[in-house]
Symmetry: C2
Subunit: 535 residues, 2 copies
């Protein structure tokens, strides 16, 4: 087939906020008043366009890059450099809001093909220019903040021109996608063929196929469709020492599975230029519903029972008591006021089914029977529909809260089931202690496995005069609690620069040396996303 | 818990045959006559105990090893060295039958613990002794044939004393197993707790937990329980440069998943000393049945439809026309003689369901409906039971056929569905052409994925005067056909030394250099299974 390209492209995100500027809005008055009951309202200063630092690259370096990808695709404008600065973590946004654009790339280069990526890498290696692959720009762990020490500058390798559906194999049910496709663009291309990928992380609207692969992303439908890395059957990667093509079969015994070495490599081992994924027929039926559990522990035990029976719906997520209360604003709304009086507010679980109608009906019947037997109360479709319609909105709300001086950030981890409660308590305590009075810690479980689950925390606290200075020690305390609990330092947000200090605790000194050895082999000049991932 | 150990240990296999010597038997007269209709019967010479080469290690090296693991656990007896020579491929058996024990290890060392493994590796590194980890000895691709060039000798690191269940976490449904446990021993230990692993490759009765992990094994119930690497959630590995412990959670985004680098590392990156796996409740119900398809292609399409609908039973395997005919001896037995006359012999599919009775009933109903709609004919339980009762017997039959001069070997590959038929035809043609008149090539599909499947070939041909000399070029021709087809050089038999020449075609030059870089990092002296895996 000839390459198919999306007819509608996602808009650019501004450097200081999430998403489409047209969708940004202040807090409605009623919500603002509610927030004001909990946190001091403190309007943030109006944002200004701060100057980015002067580019470090020499003119002949810029010319050299132009010779590879064409004049139009080597950009040194401040506006574009600003847009390619850092990602979308709260620290990133706070730095940008405060006028700190110190991590701006010196130049933005937009290759159109694998071969152009190869040529840019060769030139960057020769010129000792750091290369930061840029997909959707949604990184939340500092993955776009390369350290140019010892190099001549930083090149943001913007993959936005590589947004094609390169191949579709309907017999094998696979599609080969270019890395710059944003989530909705990839889904739109596949939908023209009646297919879908089914990867819906909260960053879905802006994050890219290459980023999903490079960070081992996991989406909201992971119970049914799996993590992104589990969808990948093939990869093409450009490295400074040559090309890597992997994936001769769905699975094999050809030694270590090197796909799993480039998945999660966060731009440090190469630039992913093609991703071949399993695709599925578009679901004819989609049903989302709510369930009430008397406690977070009871709901978690029910998730565990389903996962261990291999009886998972497409979506399953459970909010703890705090998150349930905040999301509903009226906790007594779950399961009726009487019940809330007697048993506490309870916890909301969202359960979603997608697929062919008969399969959805069968799965739903089996899951309903199991959840009922485990003590859950079915709440009907309304909470499910509410979740589905708002599933990608949280980052906009964060911007609105940052606007009124409330510090909001998320972090996540994963562990085995027997360690779930201990991990939950320890991270919560670490955050509460670090941020002090008035801190709210919410948590949900959104990814489950037969042997364990993720825990996703949302923290809100008064921002004070310097919210960044308040957050960084709290994040460190949470990371230390995670490491002390023996849990994963990240379940789906990746390592970046923020988690790099904790990676050796995760993989050990020998594991760290293995990563360094691979890095030396594929990137001898150390130009690929320096400072990211590798301990 | 304290370490639990199996009460019954699997017996040792003889160096020239598979399995328990008590189970070995010549061909029954009727079968011998049948075989004689197809192949020239040519009784192989009586086996004799051939002398093994003189050990190369110096006495003080043997003493050094004794100081680590104790006098009783450093063995230089010819009988034991013979038992630890090579694996169980047909070339291995033919070499041993012909008296070639040139690959015998110089010494067999039996550590009792991770710490003893660490100490042995340190000593071996200092003394430049090659270390070949030995689990069950069932390797079929030369994984136990280290090349001692540049080293002082070869040490077989026999993990047979490390046969413990170290931990069981019933909440997380995980078990931590030592590497020397054979399949039935591990299952017996878990069964005492009502649990099972569910990994049943044909080598199940003798293969070891460490070997399953080191070779990315896949078992006959992979449709329901997954490949072995998919069951692993944690690993402990001893390397010459230190210990590696991996697995803080079922899945994570902590960079590349290094578990996947040590899974499939075939002893070349370290010695796996602990494996933590997902376990499951013992199934209350087990049902196996047969289905008839008019052709291999129709049956394969049905498997594909099930896999792509995420509607797989626990076991699903499909024999091609040749394998169906041979296995049944009477092809008209499938689906009735009338049907065979009209439509040809057809192909037999085995479908198995295991689990809780209600889940088995529900899955069976859904699969039955799907297979019927796809054109399959249900044959009832008898073919399923026959398969289940004979599922581990094929290697004994191979011995009996080798005894009467028939060359028999297997090989396997995997590919995406759209390439299945082309791969099948090319490998079959390559084998038939290489081995000439009277060659029978049988094939089955026993591992399926949404995007593709494995192909497992059994070849039988007249052995002639030098069956090894006949087989090696045929194997090379099959490997070249696989590589030319873009398929995986092995789906579950691993790389070893036999597939090493083809690995670079699989992973590319950069992939090969990545493996070499990791090897240098974890095994700077090159003592770990030298000559195996690494291109």
């Amino acid at each position: 087939m000839t390459t198919e390209r999306p007819s509608v492209l996602q808009p650019e995100m501004p450097p200081t906020r999430w998403g489409d500027p047209a969708h940004a809005a202040g807090l409605p008055d009623g919500v603002r008043d509610l927030v004001g009951l909990v946190f001091p309202i403190q309007d943030a200063p109006a944002l200004t366009d701060v100057a980015v630092p002067a580019p470090r690259l020499a003119d002949d370096q810029v010319s050299g890059l132009r010779a590879i990808v064409g004049d139009d695709h080597v950009v040194t404008d401040d506006a574009v450099r600003r847009q390619r600065t850092r990602g979308k973590s709260t620290p990133d946004l706070l730095r940008q809001r405060s006028g700190d654009l110190g991590d701006a790339p010196d130049v933005v280069v937009r290759p159109a093909s694998h071969d152009e990526v190869v040529a840019v890498l060769a030139y960057a290696q020769e010129q000792r220019i750091a290369v930061v692959p840029f997909g959707g720009g949604t990184a939340v762990t500092g993955g776009l903040v390369a350290d140019p020490a010892g190099l001549t500058g930083v090149l943001s390798l913007d993959l936005g021109r590589m947004r094609g559906l390169l191949a579709l194999d309907p017999v094998s049910s696979t599609a080969t996608l270019e890395p710059g496709l944003r989530g909705p663009e990839a889904e739109a291309l596949l939908a023209e063929h009646g297919m879908m990928l089914g990867h819906f992380p909260q960053s879905f609207e802006y994050a890219s196929i290459g980023g999903f692969a490079a960070t081992r992303s996991s989406g909201q439908s992971s119970a049914g469709y799996g993590r992104f890395d589990a969808m990948v059957v093939g990869l093409r990667v450009a490295t400074p020492v040559g090309e890597v093509r992997l994936g001769s079969a769905p699975a094999n015994a050809c030694g270590p599975d090197l796909r799993e070495l480039f998945l999660g490599s966060e731009g440090a081992f190469g630039v992913i230029t093609e991703v071949t994924v399993r695709v599925r027929p578009l679901p004819e039926a989609k049903e989302y519903e709510g369930w009430r559990w008397s406690s977070f522990a009871d709901g978690a035990d029910a998730m565990r029972a389903l996962a261990q029976s291999d009886l998972l719906p497409t979506v399953i997520r459970l909010s703890d008591e705090n998150e349930t209360a905040i999301n509903l604003a009226d906790p007594s709304g779950i399961g009726g006021e009487d019940r809330a009086d007697k048993e506490g507010p309870g916890c909301l679980m969202i359960v979603g089914y997608e697929g062919a109608p008969a399969a959805v009906a069968a799965k739903r019947a089996a899951v309903t029977e199991a959840l009922t037997a485990l003590g859950g109360t079915a709440l009907g479709a309304e909470p499910g529909e509410a979740w589905a319609s708002g599933r990608f909105h949280a980052p906009y709300l964060r911007d609105s809260l940052l606007d009124v001086g409330v510090l909001v950030e998320t972090l996540e981890t994963a562990t085995f089931w027997s360690n779930r409660d201990s991990l939950y308590q320890r991270v919560k305590a670490a955050l509460t202690e670090a941020l002090g009075d008035g801190t709210m810690v919410l948590c949900h479980i959104s990814h489950v496995y037969p042997t364990g689950c993720s825990l996703y925390f949302t923290v809100a606290a008064p921002g004070g005069d310097d919210p960044l200075a308040r957050w960084l020690p709290a994040k460190a305390a949470a990371c230390e609690a995670i490491v002390a609990s023996g849990a994963a330092i990240t379940h789906h947000h990746a390592v970046g620069t923020d988690h790099r200090p904790y990676l050796t605790a995760e993989i050990g000194e020998v594991g760290a040396e293995v990563l360094r050895a691979v890095k030396r082999a594929v990137d001898p000049a150390g130009i690929l996303n320096p400072g990211v991932l590798i301990p």
